[in-house]
Symmetry: C2
Subunit: 241 residues, 2 copies
Amino acid sequence: MTLKTLTAESAANLDKELMSPEMGFSIDQLMELAGLSVAQAIHKVHPPSKGANVLLACGPGNNGGDGLVAARHLYHFGYKPSVFYPKPTNQPIFQGLQKQLKALRIPFVDDFTAALKETDLVVDALFGFSFKPPVREPFDKVLEAVIAAKKEVLSVDIPSSWHVEEGPPKEGELGAKFMPEYLISLTAPKPCVQWFKGKRHFVGGRFLGQEFAEKFGLDVPAYEGVEQVAELEVGAKVEKL
Amino acid sequence: MTLKTLTAESAANLDKELMSPEMGFSIDQLMELAGLSVAQAIHKVHPPSKGANVLLACGPGNNGGDGLVAARHLYHFGYKPSVFYPKPTNQPIFQGLQKQLKALRIPFVDDFTAALKETDLVVDALFGFSFKPPVREPFDKVLEAVIAAKKEVLSVDIPSSWHVEEGPPKEGELGAKFMPEYLISLTAPKPCVQWFKGKRHFVGGRFLGQEFAEKFGLDVPAYEGVEQVAELEVGAKVEKL
């Protein structure tokens, strides 16, 4: 099977179109469903019985927002999430997501390295498809710590530091050896998944209709039942759209 | 087990507080999760293999909005939903929800009685906890048709025409004989569930933290795994909060 993948430009156009006056989605809706799918993927690879401490490293953009939504659902699923969110965004949705977490007494940690030691799983929600290398501070130190910690990692949409289309950084650069165990692509995989050699790959964000998917050359993922995630083959061939 | 139930006033206060500046939820988020839970309850009682045609009767308020969200998720779950929505609301979220459904080519039907004949299941998303009797037109005719059709019905939050606290209308009034097979209470059951003698009762809307629930005297429902609905006992004793 060939995975149809969205370039950064196509992914941005797709999101723009979902939120256009014709399609009528709000960022609140899309982020809620994306974050819920992240939490469901975590439940599949690492149910709370395997260790309930999950540390979510959230970046400054929408990828970080997906992480914030996931943290809330993880709490409701029985996890003990904690959140590292050093560059909070001022937009209402991000403000709201932080308040929802604080109302649940979910800790926002300051010392990422200390928090890493306590965690059973790391969620890399630092950068998504709009990321342009290099990784800037303070996220360079964060990523270095994640790589050094040798904890299991689930990356949201893109393994952070990877180029959306060209994959991992060159040998010797930060992130060259970053290989998360798990990846959840949002809406559709991105071309860099061809370098993903982790254990399991999912897709989430169950809101693409057949007609809309076809417009972007995509297949609607084979979601089952009421699942918000579908599993994809690791190592599948990739087609760039 | 005693079911702790929210009066109309407490339910309104709870919603207001969830959307307060302190808690930070948006109507888009809450309606998305409520509607998703409605669709998941439908999948439990009536999977698409039992007949994929679902007719959603959507009222003018938030209950109708939950129905619109559910219609979209039902489509993605493999159903063929159709929507009756005679009194559309102008607020942005309702406009957006309608556009999302139209983009999926989900039919909005004009002739409710004709659509009823074709359907395998009816979703009663006419009125929620802010309903005050009597049922006004055109919804009186809609409810009469639902009762006459003898199709299976799932009611969202409250069986429409029932008083939130006092239950079914008096003998001889419209709705006195209305008993849906299935009920999904949103956030928490309402006192009228003590008159519910259908087959299965669920609760949905998985966003109440322990502390917040306690503030309203509620128990957090016993959701399992990543489920967005939990099943409650039909005929349980009721405590009014």
